[in-house]
Symmetry: C2
Subunit: 331 residues, 2 copies
């Protein structure tokens, strides 16, 4: 686990989108960060106090989180002196960049000298077991998508927030780099060795209270030719009791695959349920989450109403409408 | 690729089963090996000439293949001096053991001194791409199983042998350690990083002549909770035109999963075809391969006849009957 509270490092973010990891932490874990660190030319702002490294350390900050990505996932030379200062001040550093903290000799030396930890969340830090398929206690929900990047993480986080507000027992289980940085822990599933994928998901979602829900972040799609094996491991390692179908209705083709059309929600439901039944015969699909950002309000509501009628399931856009009806459907 | 001809190292194999990798090479690539090397206490025999390292080198042997496994996949200290002698004599060494050649400092030093290569086929030696899903030329067959270890590799190798005998263009494509050592190349799919699994299968089965068949070694099972993600990557990376269903009818439960029953062949066909259609709408199941080793001849033939009638597909045991009818079904 990555220790909180965080200082969000925005560096020299070219625009707000470059700081989307920091934005995710701010949005979903508003209490986790005590400030932000911006360098000259930074065009992102989390509306958190701007702190120097010394100020953040004095306030008890435990980890500087690299909340910014620049082209190619590089660790900019301009950042190094700030990161070294943070280590010297007693903070760990966490990053989800493609280029690893541990591959920067200056940072490795500084971390060693200060007795601090470099968290590269893009690669596993655990030796995961082979999945054993044993039935676990507690409940699990998995978000599955018609494609990659259709709102699976957002849906699970929105449900966790709603369930916590209602006093229900729920834990978002991160399976990707952004989710791990948001929550401080998880499994970077796309970087796990093939044989251990399902086992890593079992490890992530262990036995729990009978009324506790793990809300498992989905990855890829069962219909995505590049990443479907990763999704399959989530279905069989996750042992979901409940599935949520996620969709983005304006996409012209599968992400990164111009020759592939998205499946229908009906096809997704049929395939996901069939596969999930292998590990949990009682699995049910409880709702549909649609990212309607490409539609105006009227068109979005029409689309959701039509989808709800067609599938016989609650269909909501949790960004527009909140996740309340999806949580209701868990009961 | 691992260079041939091989010297098959049987070491101090406790029994013939311990030398099953060597047996596979002898059975499926009879021309690949010019001899065997046995140590005191060896209880396996490939019926090849027993050669010293010097004799093998003089006959032009290019690679010593560790064709034996002992408990825990260890590299026995007793082997080291022989392996060093082989390196000094100008041979490479290839091994599929869990413990890696490259983790033995004495072997690393000897290989470096001799300018030879240590092939650890258990781990990838290539940086595989992300799958792009693009349609490739040539034909591909994938063996899928109701469970792990039901004869998928055997079936594909038997078909390759039959097709070669008929003058058809066919290549067995290895996806596991034994297959890689048998054929000299392939992808150790269970050791590939999750994101690159399907890409590694595309890499293994590139564009080819329109009448050429890749016979892709299957792994795991779409119904095996531990390994189904690996199988999924084979289905979507392999873009099969033809599927063969593989089954072992006496198994009481899924291998390693006492709580899981095997699916029926009908369930396997339905799920495998549905998933394969995502990447190749024209995919068809062409036959069933049954490992009937647990039955006597009469019961085996009864079972095959019943299966053939029930599924409406040729059902054969290629070990008892040869793979001729499966090859016929490709036409």
């Amino acid at each position: 686990m990555i220790e909180t509270p965080y200082l969000l490092f925005l560096g020299d973010a070219a625009d707000p989108l470059a700081a989307k990891v920091a934005q995710g932490i701010k949005d979903w874990r508003p209490d986790a960060s005590i400030g932000q660190f911006r360098m000259a030319g930074c065009n992102a702002d989390m509306k958190l106090p701007d702190l120097t490294i010394a100020e953040a350390a004095a306030k008890g900050c435990k980890t500087l989180v690299v909340g910014v990505a620049n082209r190619g996932g590089m660790i900019s030379p301009a950042w190094i002196s700030v990161l070294k200062e943070a280590l010297a001040a007693g903070m760990d550093i966490a990053s989800g960049l493609h280029n690893l903290l541990r591959d920067e000799p200056e940072l490795v030396a500084a971390a060693e000298a200060a007795g601090r930890t470099l968290h590269d969340v893009r690669i596993p830090s655990v030796k995961y077991p082979i999945a054993n398929g044993k039935k676990r206690t507690g409940k699990r929900l998995l978000a599955v998508g018609t494609d990659c990047s259709v709102g699976k993480m957002y849906t699970a986080l929105a449900m966790e927030k709603e369930m916590s507000a209602r006093g229900m027992k729920a834990t978002f289980r991160a399976t990707g780099q952004t989710g791990i940085l948001i929550t401080g822990g998880g499994v970077p599933l796309d970087a796990v060795i093939a044989d251990f994928m399902a086992g890593s998901v079992e490890y992530l979602t262990p036995d729990n209270d009978p009324d506790h829900w793990d809300l498992i972040e989905g990855q890829g799609s069962l219909f995505h030719a590049s990443y479907s094996g990763v999704t399959m491991a989530l279905v069989h390692g996750g042992q979901p009791d409940a599935l949520i179908l996620c969709h983005e209705p304006t996409r012209a083709h599968m992400r990164g695959l111009p020759d592939y059309q998205l499946p229908s929600l009906e096809e997704l439901r049929s395939v996901a349920e069939t596969l999930a039944r292998v590990v949990n015969p009682a699995v049910t699909t409880i709702g549909v989450s649609v990212n309607t950002a490409g539609f105006d309000e009227a068109k979005a509501l029409d689309y959701l109403a039509e989808t709800e009628k067609r599938l016989g399931l609650p269909a909501v856009d949790p960004f527009r409408q909140g996740a309340g009806r999806l949580v209701d459907a868990l009961a």
